[in-house]
């Protein structure tokens, strides 16, 4: 929200016509040569310490191997980075932009793609490390929230909505198996469940999970939200929320800021069930001493939301070559394996391990996924993400209904 933001305004009035140098991802040696000495401003959510630390590590590696400096511009909402690029385009700054790389997916990706703010033509599938990407078995790598990616963003990590609880306090048998049971559980345990306040990404995702479960004709959600039917389709969701807020943490009068904030609340016993979009989040937190080692994961047998998160390059990036090198490095087996280590971050890889060379495969095999991480088989089915317009409309409606307080 507050962070960094108005860099947007940044270029609002200036129309510096910097000429962009042409970059051709097919000529990789040429890209490497151009990238040398460049500084890449990666605009990425900065609210989680292990993610920030991972990017520190990446900066060290990139500097040493390719002479590229990676600067993490810490956002608290990815929309702020989109706002910067939008403002730059409005001001006619079509080159020399302030954002080189954005950590993105869902509505922000859709917004950038629709407004023509992404580097084109699609470059991601010509990166050298694309050969290892598991696009055959992971459909969300090529279709993000129903929007075809078309190589305009490089896959960076996989996400699946997973819940966590402390076995020392909650009996496994009592755990809910779907959104409806979760509400019943919350009513039986008042004040012990909550979700991050939208537009926090994880908070909005929780709303979508409920929406998907409560919608009979799910094909509706694969199409853009329609003003006429929105009220009908979302009615069960808001009826659910009205009941949930009655019994939620702090009676729904305030909400946790984001999912890292929920971890401390679980540790203190303020919340009993929390969730994240990263199946290894709990193991990672246990390794860091943030959660007790009695915390375990669970998921809904009928499925939870799943998606892929990406790295995108704005059309007017200043360091396009450096951004390509960075995206390719972050997609490399080494960077992906390091990222999947719960002691580091725990984010699941986008690569197909069986496509990798022997040595890289061993690196993944050696990973200890942690005591609280479910195996891929236990993660349950993946529910498809609704079209991005649903998230926008729901956030708006949420704000309208629940911001009042007067």
């Amino acid at each position: 929200m507050l962070k960094s933001t108005l860099a947007a305004a940044a270029l609002l009035l200036s129309a510096l016509a910097v000429r962009a140098e042409p970059v051709d991802p097919a000529d990789w040696d040429g890209v490497l040569a151009q990238a040398e000495g460049q500084t890449v401003y990666l605009n990425a959510w900065g609210g989680s310490e292990n993610i920030n630390a991972y990017l520190e590590w990446a900066n060290g590696e990139l500097k040493e191997r390719f002479g590229v400096t990676l600067v993490h511009v810490k956002l608290d909402d990815t929309a702020n980075a989109v706002a910067k690029v939008v403002a730059e385009k409005a001001a006619g700054r079509d080159a020399g932009g302030s954002v080189d790389l954005i950590w993105i997916n869902g509505e922000n990706f859709a917004a950038m793609k629709q407004r023509g703010l992404l580097l084109s033509p699609g470059w991601a599938e010509s990166l050298p490390n694309w050969q290892y990407v598991d696009y055959e078995n992971k459909p969300t790598i090529r279709t993000d929230f129903t929007i075809p990616v078309e190589g305009q963003a490089a896959p960076w990590g996989m996400a699946k909505l997973v819940f966590f609880y402390d076995t020392a306090r909650t009996d496994k048998a009592d755990l809910p198996e779907n959104a409806t049971e979760l509400l019943a559980w919350a009513e039986a345990n008042p004040g012990r469940f909550s979700y991050p306040q939208p537009p926090d990404f994880i908070g909005s995702s929780f709303l979508k999970q409920v929406l998907v479960e409560k919608t009979e004709d799910r094909s509706l959600l694969q199409k853009p939200a329609d003003e006429e039917t929105f009220a009908d389709v979302s009615a069960p969701l808001f009826a659910y929320l009205d009941r949930l807020h009655e019994v939620a943490w702090r009676s729904g009068r305030t909400f946790p800021e984001n999912y890292p904030a929920m971890k401390q609340l679980l540790a203190d016993g303020e919340l009993e069930i929390i969730f994240a979009f990263n199946p290894a989040e709990a193991s990672s937190a246990i390794a860091n001493g943030e959660l007790p080692d009695t915390v375990r994961s669970f998921t809904f047998p009928e499925g939870t939301l799943a998606n892929t998160h990406f790295l995108a390059i704005p059309y007017n990036a200043s360091a396009t070559a450096g951004a390509l090198v960075t995206a390719n490095f972050l997609m490399s087996p080494e960077a992906q394996a390091h990222k999947q280590d719960p002691k580091v971050w725990g984010d699941p890889t986008v690569l197909a391990v069986d496509k990798l060379p022997e040595e890289a495969r061993a690196r993944f095999a050696a990973l200890d996924l942690g005591i609280a991480t479910l195996s891929p088989a236990e993660l349950g089915p993946a529910l498809a993400e609704p079209h991005p317009s649903w998230m926008e409309r729901i956030e708006e409606e949420w704000k309208r209904r629940y911001t009042a307080g007067n």
Binding site: L2, S4, K74, S98, N258, A261, Q264, E270, K399, G405
Partner: protein, 559 residues
């Protein structure tokens, strides 16, 4: 020649950004923003603003925060000084004022949050033994809808500020003599002070009180950490709108900034009315000869208020310090299960860059402010004219106009010059806020300087600058270093100007700390809070130790 430039340069630096900034905010509010195609004058954006959900609730919280914070802080300071001035206890409390004053607002807010939250230190100390709580109670304390936690955080920071201002004003009020007189006439300590001394003191601290009101009505960092969320106070929502990808919201944000100006203006106007009311009540009570001799309750209440605000912040900071070394630390444990250096080892390398920016910007802004303040005061000596009430009001202007209202517009200005997120721009933005404090802290010691030293040196044939560098500056070293320490601590604590002008690329310890607050990891916040404490403290340590070292062989210069 150089001194002649001092006052105009200062006025330009203080009011230039302010006026251009206000213009840059006002024009888009009325529809003028050419890059976005806004060329017509319209009130449409105000209609949209008043349609925004709960906008009046946001404005109401901001208004209440300004008035309540100022009233409580001022009341505590007034009664405390009335009751305890001249006692040993008073002297002891005085020593706690400076460290509290130099602490950034955000750090004090963190400290309070970690003390009073349902899972905070206070609850841990008494649970489960006294409370029976094995879980933290489900109480809405931090982020409460009425903004009480936010007001408490502001009060804890404004009490030391108003206290210091009062202490500076006290000598001119002949408080001790008045006290002897009113005591002899049978008045209670507090009543005697309020009738006899306070009117003289208050006249001098009025501008600082206005600054407190303006700050509290438009604060962003404290509001983010402690304030209500649904809806948030006005200034917080403005900053959110300004960063939305939907660019048309910028008009809304600008219109909101105009509303913010109105809210702050209304708060100040209400305060003027309250002043009149309080003065009338006091006069009536005095006229009727109410002696109010049984004021023990008020005296101890003010003492408790003073002590509580200081202790809360210090205890909270201590809790944060422990958090920064904590492994797993679950409720209701009073101490962590394990201690680890992990948070420090992970975070320290990441603090290097914000630390460097904090130091660079703070030192540069403070140094420029010091030079300008000295030039202005030298010019005063030359012309024999003191800065009047008007000039003083001008100096206070950047502290009384809400930051959001002109920083938005200042951004546009910097963007046009392609200067946003550059070091010089950030230093300029900090200078606007450091300058007033620099001038105000130097003016009294400067005027108190015994001019006969100057005349003596002139008699020995020393030129003006020789007199300045060889006589005046060395003798005033302590005052100048204090100015630098105060200016630096102000710069370290600046949040909104840094976030907006640094645009995410130039970050300081304070902006990093507030950004991390959203992640809610108390270990990391603990590390950053340490630096927020350390930097201003280091400034004051230098200001105390350097003169002591230099003057160790000069008996006349010791304090």
């Amino acid at each position: 020649m150089l001194t002649r430039l001092g006052p105009p340069l200062t006025i330009l630096l203080l009011t230039g950004p302010l006026l251009f900034g206000l213009a840059g905010t006002l024009l888009p509010a009325f529809g003028f923003l050419p890059v976005l195609g806004g060329m017509e004058l319209t009130l449409r954006h105000f209609e949209a603003l008043f349609d925004a959900p709960a906008i009046w609730a946001s404005a109401g919280i901001s208004l209440a925060a300004g008035l309540v914070t100022a009233a409580i802080s001022l009341l505590v300071v007034m009664v405390f000084v009335a009751a305890w001035a001249g006692t040993p206890l008073f002297a002891r409390i005085q020593h706690m004022v400076s460290p509290l004053l130099s602490l950034p607002h955000a750090a004090a807010a963190f400290a309070l949050a970690f003390l009073i939250a349902p899972s905070g230190l206070l609850a841990r100390l008494i649970s489960p033994a006294l409370t029976g709580w094995h879980h933290p109670p489900d109480l809405l304390i931090v982020h409460d809808p009425m903004g009480l936690a936010m007001m408490a955080g502001l009060v804890a920071k404004e009490i030391p500020f108003l206290m210091l201002m009062t202490l500076a004003a006290l000598p001119q009020a002949r408080a001790a003599e008045t006290r002897r007189l009113t005591t002899a006439l049978g008045y209670g300590r507090v009543a005697g002070f309020v009738y006899g001394t306070w009117p003289i003191v208050y006249r001098q601290i009025r501008l600082p009180v206005f600054a407190v009101i303006a700050f509290a009505t438009s604060v962003v960092d404290v509001a983010v950490i402690l304030g209500p969320t649904r809806p948030a106070p006005l200034a917080v929502r403005l900053v959110e709108w300004m960063s939305d990808p939907e660019l048309s919201l910028r008009y809304l944000a600008s219109a909101g900034a105009v509303l913010q100006l109105a809210v702050t203006g209304f708060a100040l106007a209400s305060w003027l009315a309250l002043e009149k009311l309080a003065a009338a009540l006091t006069r009536r009570a005095a006229g009727r000869g109410r002696r109010l001799r049984r004021d023990a309750l008020a005296r101890y209440a003010a003492f408790m208020g003073m002590l509580a605000s200081a202790l809360a912040v210090f205890a909270g900071l201590a809790a944060l310090a422990v958090w920064s070394f904590a492994g797993l630390w679950q409720f209701p444990d009073v101490v962590p299960q394990s201690l680890t250096l992990k948070s420090w080892l992970r975070t320290l390398p990441r603090t290097a860059e914000p630390l460097l920016t904090t130091l660079l910007v703070g030192l540069a802004a403070t140094f420029i402010a010091a030079v300008l303040a000295i030039l202005c005061l030298m010019r005063e000596d030359e012309t024999g004219r003191r800065a009047g009430q008007g000039a003083l009001a001008l100096i206070y202007l950047p502290l009384v106009v809400p930051q959001v209202a002109f920083i938005f517009g200042l951004q546009f200005l910097l963007i046009m010059g392609d200067l946003l997120a550059t070091l010089p721009a950030l230093i300029l933005a900090h200078l606007v806020f450091v300058m007033p404090y620099a001038y105000l802290s130097l003016k009294d010691p400067w005027r108190a300087f015994d001019k006969r030293y100057d005349w003596l040196a002139a008699g020995l044939g020393k030129s003006r600058w020789q007199r300045f560098f060889h006589v005046r500056l060395p003798m005033m070293l302590r005052a100048v270093l204090t100015l630098l320490a105060i200016g630096f601590s102000v710069s370290v604590g600046l949040y909104l100007p840094t976030v907006l002008i640094g645009a995410g690329r130039l970050t300081t310890i304070t902006t990093e700390a507030v950004a991390l607050a959203s992640g809610g990891n108390p270990r990391i916040i603990g590390v950053y809070a340490f630096f927020q404490m350390l930097l201003p403290a280091a400034g004051f340590a230098v200001a105390t130790l350097v003169p002591a070292l230099i003057f160790r062989r000069f008996h006349g210069m010791r304090v």
